[in-house]
């Protein structure tokens, strides 16, 4: 399989400009700027079936086409490098080992949407990424790949690295914009969407790191090539992250049609210590959990949606048969309770309520009505909030209860027997 986004991973000093240039570095940007119009670039990306790799899987070219070209306000590109979805660590590899691929993607994207300013919002804990990306930007300015009239063309572009400060919610695109504007990360009501009212009230495209890093290869080798690599509506490869109870946790670039079984057993070495699979999260903590009979699913956006889960951020977390599923539900519930931004009452109050309920169940001192009440509490958060975080609490924690109900019931039984 040809590696695309991960083609430079593991190579010595792959983050340096001199090495990026040795492998057709910035040639796609040159091609776009000198041989294509912005509209043609958008068209090419649409045809490639590239979909957002941060979690929502929205068709990238379509998102770009929402930018109103007639709007006189400046346009912005914002790169979401907040990478906070538990189970996800792929963007870190691009930021640290191929920052110029991201910068080249940024140039092409800005050209396509008519923007001359891009911000890269990197989570504050990623100190190494922040330093390496800034160094790459400095190299790019020196080499005239960024700045005024880049690469001998008339195109101006500036890129700024912006650090987050520790808040999962800032991975949500509108909360990220709020944070970038110097405020608390409170998500905004949509509509209006960022493409119309985004950063500083101006038309803005926000895309994940990996999504934009896929753009230069698409321009170099063509949309048809990229589309063919994946499924019908989901082109290309993807960086899958796998962790938890596997022999070889790590990042694996694989086609979008790969099955979960193949990723766990053929690539990540299967489950250590002779244990068996019990449950697996397919796409970050927000994704409904899957049982062993579901792992033949293809890991693309549409296939996972059809079985009631999601491809999300590509963060696979594997649980073996020693795992207590009530405990695992408690860990998820705790995460959401701690990371709720607090703006919406159902989420602010509900996430805490869910956590305390599941914690009592896990610790064996739940009241008999706790388990009966739990679905009602969980189900009333999602759909009643400004952003998808509320939906994530409902879908994620709800899936543990519905798929492993017997374990929750057993905990109540234990308690009853103790009386």
């Amino acid at each position: 399989m040809e590696k695309i986004v991960s083609r430079h991973f593991g190579q010595k000093n792959s983050h340096r400009l001199e090495n990026y240039l040795k492998d057709n570095g910035y040639e796609a940007a040159r091609k776009a700027l000198t041989q294509m119009t912005g509209a043609q670039v958008i068209d090419e990306v649409k045809k490639s079936n590239l979909r957002g790799l941060g979690g929502a899987g929205f068709p990238t070219g379509t998102k770009w086409s929402f930018i109103p070209q007639a709007n006189p306000k400046p346009k912005y590109l914002v790169i979401n490098a907040d990478e906070g979805e538990p189970g996800t660590f792929k963007d870190k590899y691009i930021l640290e080992q191929d920052p110029h691929a991201l910068l080249e993607g940024i140039i092409i994207t800005c050209y396509a949407i008519g923007s001359h300013k891009a911000y890269i919002y990197i989570r504050g804990e990623y100190i190494k990424s922040l330093e390496i990306v800034q160094a790459a930007i400095d190299e790019a300015y020196k080499g005239k790949y960024l700045g005024k009239g880049i690469m001998g063309t008339g195109f101006d572009i500036d890129v700024v690295v912006h650090p987050g400060a520790g808040a999962y919610i800032c991975g949500e695109e509108t909360a990220l914009l709020e944070s970038l504007e110097g405020k608390k990360g409170f998500p905004r009501l949509k509509p209006p969407f960022p493409a119309v009212v985004g950063l500083f009230g101006c038309p803005t495209v926000i895309n994940n790191v990996e999504t934009i890093a896929c753009v230069p290869p698409i321009i170099n080798k063509g949309a048809e090539w990229y589309a063919k690599l994946g499924n019908e509506k989901n082109g290309g490869n993807r960086l899958f992250c796998i962790s938890g109870h596997v022999v070889k946790p790590g990042v694996y670039e694989l086609p979008n049609g790969t099955t979960l079984r193949e990723i766990i057993y053929d690539h990540a070495g299967g489950i250590p210590n002779g244990r068996k699979l019990k449950a697996v999260i397919p796409g970050g903590i927000s994704a409904p959990i899957l049982t062993p009979d579901q792992i033949d699913v293809k890991m693309d956006f549409d296939s996972l949606k059809s079985i009631g889960s999601m491809a999300g951020s590509g963060g696979i977390i594997v649980m073996d048969d020693t795992t207590d599923m009530v405990w695992a539900a408690m860990i998820a519930a705790r995460f959401f309770a701690l990371e709720s931004c607090g703006q919406c009452s159902p989420c602010r109050e509900g996430s805490g309520w869910v956590y305390r309920n599941v914690k009592r169940l896990n610790e064996g001192h739940a009241r008999p009505h706790d388990l009966n009440n739990l679905p009602g509490i969980v189900n009333n958060i999602g759909g009643n909030t400004i952003c998808a975080f509320g939906d994530a609490v409902t879908m994620s924690v709800g899936s543990y209860v519905s798929k492993f109900r017997s374990e929750f019931e057993a905990k109540i039984q234990e308690r009853v027997c103790q009386i």
């Binding site: 110097g182 962790s243 990042v251 695992a328």
Partner: protein, 154 residues
């Protein structure tokens, strides 16, 4: 009040943004890097510099986990407790650190050498169980590695 020289440093950051207020997070990082924490005095100075009400600075400081209103240890352990790390022994690691240093989440040792935060996913699940020790990510933690880190910073 900020000195003229310090203001120049801050201006360098602020000038990158179309709106001054957008520089707030990187400014707070810069000040915390220099002074170790964010005090009410600092909040007031930054608010004046940006021309925004102090409460807008304070609410940002209290919203984000990485900004500290109290001094942290010379060695700060931020240990992940989310799913992938939990599956690989994070609870045991956290318990061991608490036992050895005799501090809990959000506490600093009396000699100011160590502090502990128990945090959510740091984006390094492939290294589980892991933590961020000051600026660096440390993975595949076990009691031995914890002992070595404590030894190093004691």
């Amino acid at each position: 009040m900020f000195t003229a020289e310090y203001l120049q440093e801050l201006d360098k950051i602020t000038n990158k943004y179309e709106q001054k207020r957008a520089a707030l997070l990187p400014l707070l990082h810069r000040v915390q890097e220099k002074e170790g924490l964010i005090t009410p005095e600092t909040e007031k100075n930054i608010a004046e510099y940006l021309g925004i009400p102090v409460v807008h600075v304070h609410e940002v400081v209290s919203f984000y986990h990485l900004f500290h209103q109290n001094k942290i240890g010379k060695c700060h352990f931020a240990v992940c407790q989310t799913t992938a790390c939990a599956l690989r022994g994070a609870e045991e690691i956290i318990g061991y650190i608490q036992e050895r240093l005799k501090i809990k989440h959000h506490e600093t040792t009396p000699d100011g050498k160590f502090s502990l935060s128990v945090v959510e996913c740091l984006g390094a699940c492939e290294l589980a169980p892991m933590m961020q020790c000051n600026k660096e990510y440390k993975g595949f933690l076990d009691k031995k590695k914890i002992d070595e880190l404590i030894e190093k910073y004691s």
